[in-house]
């Protein structure tokens, strides 16, 4: 459907934009500390996207997942704790 390069960019943008949207929501419900933590966990993912995935999506996909996913997963817990704290 898309070329490999375009598809890689779409993936990366979705991963970053939707997590950032969550961070924005956390600010909206006044969980600023958790929002900052979440952003700090998104930054290494963007770094790995630039270092590995976008440079050679076919060769580096597995290496990217292994490096970046722990940060995404920790971001989920940070978000969960923020929601629990806010009583959402």
């Amino acid at each position: 459907m898309f070329g490999i390069g375009t598809a890689a960019w779409i993936c990366v943008l979705m991963i970053d934009i939707f997590q950032s949207g969550i961070a924005a929501f956390l600010i909206h419900i006044h969980q600023n500390l958790y929002a900052v933590l979440l952003v700090l966990l998104i930054i290494p993912q963007i770094t790995f996207q630039d270092m590995y995935f976008l440079r050679d999506p076919l060769k580096n996909d597995v290496k990217y997942q292994a490096s970046a996913q722990p940060f995404l997963v920790l971001g989920m817990l940070v978000t969960a704790l923020a929601l629990g704290n806010a009583g959402t």
Partner: protein, 261 residues
Amino acid sequence: MPELTPSSSLPESSRSVTPETETPETSLETNTVASAVAKTDDRSAKARQLLGMKGAQSGETSIWKIRLQLMKPITWIPLIWGVVCGAASSGNYTWTLENTLISAACMLLAGPLLTGYTQTLNDFYDREIDAINEPYRPIPSGIISLPQVVAQILVLLVSGIGIAFVLDQWADHSFPIITILALGGSFLAYIYSAPPLKLKQNGWLGNYALGASYIALPWCTGHALFGDLNWTIVLLTLFYSLAGLGIAVVNDFKSVEAIAS
């Protein structure tokens, strides 16, 4: 996320068995160091097989190991994590023995039972394609019979729904939300793998189904177990699942790679 784990948690991408290539050729090695390395490789290949990971070894004969392999334990981890997130976001989780046991039951529901069901079901419906592309996999290789596979799918599904019902009773839900989530997730797993819908053949929709199954479903389940599930949580986790969709598409690059090579 879906594949929120390091190497591969998606039904499509986590192909578990690699034939000969991973088997060390010890007979040609006289060097002891090399054979020690080979032995370690051999052991880790066996572990990888049991976990349902790529780069595993074939030739397993124990039916229970085959069953476990079909359930792809490595893919349970993100779902179990999702339950933890749901318990945390409920804001009501306290570290009592009772809560710990109840959350363990919820993890059993999300991981071994319903993800195990999903993975076995997926392999069942993939058996004809696998017979051509990956004939060494458990079902096409004939190492486990079809009635045995169907029995496994049904046992996992029924126990999963059963535990969901018990959890609803524990939480005093007047509306059995956990049972409904379990039924909904099981149905989603069915239309993902089975004809006529086979959502996984539709790139975006199939991958969003995966993303939501790995993030929104276990999260909402954990939240409903310890708190009140509301639309904010449902919509927010479905939004988060869109990042999971991105991850699921990244996992598809492996298949592109395989086709290319």
